[in-house]
Assembly symmetry: C2
Homo-oligomer: 140 residues x 2
DNA sequence: GCGGATCGTAAGCGCATGCATATGATTGAG
DNA sequence: CTCAATCATATGCATGCGCTTACGATCCGC
């Protein structure tokens, strides 16, 4: 009677939670929160002109990330320079140290992902990642 | 410098949220909550002897699902019969109506999944599902 | 039989989240 | 110049969740 597989959402959800659980210790080891890492990743791609734009880009609440930004700035991982042309705005960018940390964390996370994906035959692994990229709605 | 793909967790997470968002209206149309559907799915596979066992099986808190069970029972979708052999225990099973509702919701969700997966070439689609089943930790 | 274990239920705590509102600085359009 | 809009920030509220504790009923091993 059944298709004999769990619902897609159930499988994706569980796998997602597995990934999160695997990443938590890595982030903790680098003293970066989940949102902190997301922020570093977004700023590693490109600096942002406003916090509101950053929040939109990463799908977070505008007020939600303030504390994380405070923390990252305090620890010298990002800069929040007031825009001389528009003094309402804070120009956001990584510091060299921020880039270093982001690269390190990213490398560790990638290694962990490889470990989890190692169960798959290489061909399946490639197809899986390609399919996932195609299904990923990105951050629009 | 980069592998030029988002982190696995980011892609899986976003896709998962897309799936959830797509399922919410379906569940609402059948007046079933997310947890309610999970419960129906678990009981569709096999009846349970205790609520604690059910909670373990679906990865929920034992106290968490009581309200959902109350609701499902009240609407005649599940039965919670006291075990004559052990009066602490409630035997849980679907009613015929419960099975009917679960089948209907499941069919609708599967159709929605197909719609989302339709973007993939059939071969990729098969490989993707196979890989996902392999990576899915299941419910141990 | 007694004591420890299990079950269902209720209640409360702490946390993260989404959502809304307020406010103070600043800009830009009319 | 004035007013609406934008931005960063602080604050409050409701929600949902995991976790813990408490309680009474019941079972089971000794």
């Amino acid at each position: 009677m059944a298709d004999d597989r769990p619902d897609l959402a159930a499988m994706v959800g569980r796998f997602g939670r597995t990934l999160m659980a695997a990443e938590r210790p890595i982030l903790a080891a680098h003293h970066v929160s989940m949102w902190g890492y997301v922020v570093l990743t977004a700023l590693a791609d490109e600096p942002m002109r406003t916090q509101a734009a950053l929040a939109r880009a990463i799908g977070a609440d505008k007020t939600r990330i303030i504390a994380d930004l405070d923390d990252l700035q305090e620890r010298g991982l990002i800069e929040r320079e007031p825009d001389p042309a528009d003094r309402r705005v804070r120009l956001l960018r990584l510091t060299p140290e921020g880039r270093r940390v982001h690269t390190a964390v990213r490398r560790a996370i990638r290694a962990e992902e490889e470990r989890l994906l190692a169960e798959l035959p290489p061909a399946d692994r490639r197809t899986f990642l390609r399919a996932l990229q195609h299904l990923d709605p990105g951050t629009p």
